[in-house]
Amino acid sequence: MTIGAFLAAAGLAALVAARRRTPAKQEPAAVVELPQPPSESSRRMAALLEALPAGVIIVAPDGRIAAVNASAASMFGIAPERAIGRALIESVRSYELDRRVTAALASGIEESSELTFIAATERRLHVATRAVNRGDGRREALVVAVDRTRVIELETMRRDFVSNVSHELRSPLTAIKIMTETLQDGADPAASKEFLENIARETDRMIALVEDLLDLARLESGRLDLRFDSVDLSALVRDAVRSQTIRASKLGIRLDAVTPSDGAAIAGDRDMLTQVVVNLLDNALRNTPSGGAITARVSSNGSGVAVDVEDTGIGIASDALPHVFERFYVVDRSRAKSKGGTGLGLAIVKHIVEAHGGSVDAQSELGRGSLFRCSFGPAVRR
């Protein structure tokens, strides 16, 4: 029974109750058993309840479900036609909800607080239970549930973000402060030189982090002005690879660019696309041991242009793979610390590529290496 049918029935029940209170002589019992069409107002009320974004369940005095609206059915993963007439706990498997409804029915106790409901997925709900006197000395329980899962997820993300940024900024600042204090107390020239180099390195790390944060903020707010031009990704990838060659060689890593000779131009922002390739190369260089190889490859076919950055590095576990484009997601935090990196590079890559109407993908095998692919629309004629 949907809410509509329930209210129609409830309207009928009220009519029956009213007629039963009148003397039997004036109101033969047979009359009240005739099916009565629901009134216009009960139909309207039923339609409104059914359309409510909040989940509504009505539990009869005997603890059985009397009505469920569409939102409640979806929130609690139940089929109304199977749930109606059954005990609440048989359909909605939540001890806490059952306890609250039992308290409302038995003692008129009303509650309003958070409730975690676990079915196929975990939902965070705000649930209010109300005891409704029926007028015949018995109570019905009204359950009103609002799904707060997404809101709580966003709150958690915001909290994590602030905590991550604070942590990432505090670490270099603490190091700088300690080294500065040591220098103020006086240190021998060799130690002073090392400390100053460390301070410069930590400062660079903070500048990189702040720049990445600003880039990300601009990208996420959509306030970034992309200057679209015809950009040859082949030439851009070759330039980016060239810019990282010295660093790769110092790390003992072979770095190659494989690009089509006739070029592969797309409409895009040259600086932003350069940042995409540089970030991917930077990520590969930090995760590939000495003796490994990195290949940046551009390929083009009728349906689009792809930029791949493939390495023979440490690889990423399959369970971590879906998260690598998230802000501050670091597969191995202890390793990341020694290898630098802000934890924002791949998030920036994803935003820039998506701002170009493209998509990013990562494939990897632990111990074998990773492949990051940026796919764009078809090449444009130059």
Binding site: A87, I89, E90, R93, S94, Y95, E96, D98, T116, I118, A119, A120, E122, A317, D319, A320
Partner: protein
């Protein structure tokens, strides 16, 4: 006790089994959550929860025994009561395993995490899913679902082996990881056992509905193989 009263108490007792099931399902969820966050307060909550689970257990058993003694039920009713008496034992043990995990959380709270928990929450989710579906099968007297649920045990066993081997690797590499590693292996073992209890519940439901006791498919955890593998890691030739 009239027949109407008998059926009322039988129905209420079946609902109590579902209440107890809901509590233990939540206890598993909270236990693994507390472990991942080293949340001692949440672990303490789970231990307190166990008293409610135990109270329900006693109430269900008492009601079942009263129904048996006073009504001499037969056929389907008799099998339902017999099934409930078995199911609550499995639920009570699952609740105990959630407490075991909570105790481990408390004992490891002062130590840094060995690694982010990935496969253990997956095992917990799968075991919980099996438990929920086994209780769905019980609530709906649905033998078809009860036959299907135990097939999911293979995935739990696979995850158990993966966790076991990974943690043995950690411990072989770093003796300081032994305390944390061995405790996490116990957590994985408890979750594997929870999945087995869910399979037991399905067997009871099949008996309750079909009237024929059946041993449902259950893959064997290859502990021996895993131990043999750990020996090769610990004592490489």
């Amino acid at each position: 006790m009239g027949r109407e009263n008998f059926h009322r108490i039988l129905n209420e007792t079946q609902q109590d089994v579902l209440r107890m099931g809901s509590l233990v399902e939540e206890a598993i969820n909270r236990a693994v959550d507390a472990l991942g966050r080293s949340d001692v307060a949440l672990a303490d909550d789970i231990l307190r929860f166990d008293d409610i689970i135990d109270d329900l257990n006693v109430r269900i058993e008492t009601n079942c025994l009263n129904l048996l003694a006073l009504q001499q039920p037969m056929a389907s009713d008799l099998r339902t009561i017999a099934a409930m008496l078995d199911i609550v034992i499995d639920l009570e043990r699952i609740g105990d395993h959630a407490c075991d995990i909570a105790q481990i959380t408390k004992s490891l709270a002062e130590e840094p995490p060995l690694k982010p928990l990935i496969d253990i929450p997956r095992m917990a989710a799968k075991a919980r899913e099996m438990l929920r579906e086994s209780l769905d099968a019980f609530a709906n007297h649905d033998a078809a679902i009860a036959h299907l649920v135990p097939q999911k045990d293979d995935e739990v066993d696979r995850l158990y082996r993966a966790v076991f081997q990974e943690l043995i690797g950690f411990m072989a590499h770093d003796p300081k990881a032994i305390n944390r590693g061995s405790n996490l292996i116990l957590v994985a073992l408890y979750l594997e056992r929870i999945a087995d209890h869910a399979t037991n519940i399905c067997e009871r439901v099949v008996y309750m509905v079909e009237g024929v006791p059946k041993k449902l498919k259950r893959s064997v955890v290859e502990i021996n193989r895993a131990v043999a593998h750990s020996d090769t890691l610990l004592n490489p030739s």
